[in-house]
């Protein structure tokens, strides 16, 4: 008995010692950074690394000894890591974190004190250089917590060689119905699939179609709107794409991307960032890809929508908040930096940069088409999507409804109403 007690107390001592240690070492780590003063740690994913490195060089010219320590983390791994650190009271967080627009509101609502209020640092003035939808996405209660970076104006990426073979003129595709007709022709003449969709585990085209119609998972009142008229229209079109044999099923992002990059499908309905990905994944297909604007729901209808995009944040756990703010302000509002980002396939949302010749230049990978001009013109028309802090739960229910409609053949209004109900329940039990 006595032994057991001494063992237990030994364990307790160790626990106390270790929890004490871990707190200290974290403080020490950030302390080192603040002593040097000019080394900032950044979390960002692969496509953002080249522009960060260029920006570091340019910024260091006026700021002697300035260095960035870039930790490349894929966007899928970023959120578990960020959430764990925030849950642990901010331990191990860097000075700068890149967060996708879809996720920012979730973090701002669940960790209201975790990010630096940029409006208080005077960013509102700079904020006007960004489209209003980007400002809204990075704000809470009228204050900005993120500096808008790239956007994802949507478009259709297509294989010019397949289209030529099938005799389809992409300019003639103005509506989703035209798109379906073109798909049937292409499949008939070439035997190649027109579009691949992840019908059971993701919903990017549905989201994009909602945004195109000025709607989203949530209405303006922040209440679930999965059964809205716009949502039903989007699902009907997705079902039509499938039923007419234009869209084929694929499961998972990796399989989707490899299908597009290997030329198994003729088109990809995606955001502007797809340009960089295609170029990276299929360098040998240079000259075979082109872009045309998103088809509208009816002739003359809205052809603008956004999918993806991100913003920079500064965690309040950072010891270098002022240096981080200064660097980010330089990064976000300097045309030159945003031009470098564009060349790397990231579409800037800083509106002062669109006058750059880059946006009227032909892109040699994309068959000398002026693809960036298409996206720049589209940006003005994009409406804000209401992601709210519950984006992930809503997406889970939307994907489920989509799967029921496309795979199990469930009635569209019934499936969407059931999904909306489930979402309402989940949100109310969570509160």
């Amino acid at each position: 008995m006595k032994k057991a007690w001494s063992l237990l107390s030994l364990i307790l001592v160790f626990i106390l010692a270790m929890t004490g240690c871990s707190g200290q070492s974290a403080d020490e780590a950030s302390g080192v950074a603040s002593k040097k003063g000019k080394t900032l740690t950044v979390w960002a994913w692969n496509t953002n690394v080249p522009v960060l490195k260029q920006a570091e060089k340019i910024y260091a010219k006026d700021h002697k000894g300035f260095k960035l320590k870039i930790q490349e983390i894929s966007n899928n791994d970023m959120y578990p890591k960020l959430t764990t650190s925030l849950q642990g009271g901010g331990q191990g967080l860097p000075d700068i974190v890149l967060i996708e627009d879809t996720h920012i509101q979730g973090y701002l609502h669940n960790f209201p004190k975790a990010f630096v209020n940029l409006s208080k640092k005077g960013f509102d003035k700079e904020g006007e250089k960004f489209p209003s939808y980007k400002r809204e996405l990075a704000s809470r209660d009228g204050n900005m917590y993120g500096m808008p970076f790239d956007g994802g104006p949507a478009g259709v990426f297509y294989r010019t060689d397949y289209f030529k073979k099938a005799g389809i003129n992409p300019d003639s595709i103005e509506t989703w119905d035209d798109f379906i007709a073109a798909g049937k022709t292409l499949k008939q003449k070439t035997g190649i699939k027109f579009l691949s969709l992840d019908m059971n585990s993701d919903d990017p085209v549905y989201r994009l179609m909602l945004n195109q119609q000025g709607s989203f998972y949530f209405g303006d009142d922040n209440k679930p709107a999965l059964a809205s008229k716009e949502s039903q229209t989007a699902m009907k079109m997705l079902k039509k794409l499938k039923d007419e044999g234009v869209a084929s099923n694929v499961t998972g992002w990796d399989a989707w991307l490899s299908g597009v990059a290997s030329g198994k499908v003729a088109t990809a309905v995606s955001g502007s960032w797809m340009a960089g990905l295609i170029e990276q994944q299929a360098p040998k297909d240079k000259g075979k890809w082109g872009v045309f604007p998103l088809p509208a729901f009816e002739k003359g209808g809205n052809r603008a929508a956004n999918i993806g995009g991100s913003a920079w944040t500064i965690p309040t756990a950072s010891k270098n908040q002022d240096s981080a703010y200064d660097f980010l302000k330089f990064f976000s509002t300097t045309n030159k930096i945003q031009e470098i980002a564009t060349k790397g396939g990231l579409f800037p949302t800083l509106n002062t940069v669109y006058t750059s010749p880059l946006f009227t230049e032909a892109d040699d990978y994309f068959n000398n088409q002026k693809i960036w001009q298409i996206f720049a013109n589209e940006t003005k028309e994009i409406k804000a999507a209401n992601y709210t802090g519950n984006y992930a739960i809503a997406k889970d229910e939307a994907v489920k409804a989509q799967s029921e409609i496309l795979t199990s053949g469930k009635n569209i209004p019934t499936a969407l109403k059931a999904a909306e109900k489930r979402l309402e329940n989940r949100l109310s039990t969570k509160e």
Partner: protein
């Protein structure tokens, strides 16, 4: 004399320390978390609210059912296959033993994520699996997009990954069995299958129990396969407790609720292990 008493503790200290920090501390802190809720970034106590929520949560119940369905089908198939393989590879007459043993064990060494991603690519509608099926003149199978097939795919993948691991455990145990018993049985006229069912299996009972408990625990925590193969779809048909815990914690920021589900898994593991001990008559 006194010194001798303290000495062993000194040696086990590093292990105890690591255990305390990386096991006991998280276990206790997640227990605490399971009674809490995050509101506006602050954790507040809500008593048993998280546990009460479980009863009305359709997704949790579905995850529980899916997990048990996979457990009940996959674990017996895998244990039986592992036993048969171990027995075959233990034959004196078998050539290239080392090669076969290594080949069957190899899947257990591969990374969980890498193998799941590979299976997901092979199981696409136009993947290798369906190409092979076409060559046999059959219709393609919706491996990942049909509620039943998605579960079967999961079971196939898990069986590929884990059978070799259990086989090695059985193989080690088989090598401790004396040849005399088999010789005596053969003299009495027992065939190979009779020997397998009446000598090998009873003799290996403690090891089979060990493997079954480990596999049960592993299946209750099933995460990598649904995460990488199907994300729980189509329509939650491959949602497991492990995946639901992850989603609640890391995607919905609902750590209290995630911890409550985790504790349900703990209780299930304890109850199932106890039952397995009782049924097989071990003390």
């Amino acid at each position: 004399m006194k010194r001798n008493v303290a000495f062993p503790y000194f040696f086990i200290a590093p292990a105890v320390l690591l255990f305390a920090v990386f096991t006991i501390y998280p276990v206790l802190s997640s227990l605490l978390l399971s009674f809490q809720k995050s509101t506006g970034g602050e954790l507040i106590f809500t008593g048993l609210a998280n546990y009460q929520r479980l009863f009305g949560d359709d997704i949790f119940i579905k995850a529980l059912k899916n997990t048990f369905l996979i457990l009940i089908i996959q674990v017996p198939i895998m244990i039986f296959l592992a036993l048969v393989l171990a027995n075959a590879l233990n034959r004196k007459l078998l050539k290239l033993k080392g090669f076969f043993r290594t080949s069957f064990f190899l899947p257990a060494v591969t990374s969980l994520v890498a193998y799941a991603v590979l299976f997901s690519i092979m199981m696409q509608d136009d993947g290798i699996f369906n190409t092979a099926i076409h060559m046999l003149g059959l219709d393609s199978i919706p491996w990942l997009s049909h509620p039943v097939w998605a579960k079967i795919s999961m079971i196939l993948a898990m069986t590929w990954r884990w059978t070799g691991y259990n086989m090695v455990i059985f193989l080690a145990a088989l090598q401790n069995l004396s040849d005399d018993i088999y010789e005596a049985a053969a003299l009495d006229g027992a065939g190979k299958w009779q020997q397998f069912f009446h000598i090998t299996i009873p003799q290996l009972k403690p090891v089979i129990l060990f493997s079954t408990i480990l596999s049960t625990i592993g299946t209750l925590q099933l995460f990598d396969e649904p995460m990488n193969l199907t994300k729980g779809g189509p329509a939650d048909s491959t949602m497991t407790l492990g995946l639901y815990i992850y989603q609640n914690g890391f995607e919905y920021f609902d750590f209290g609720y995630a911890s409550a589900i985790a504790y349900v898994v703990v209780i299930l593991v304890a109850v199932l292990s106890f039952l397995q001990f009782k049924v097989t008559g071990e003390d």
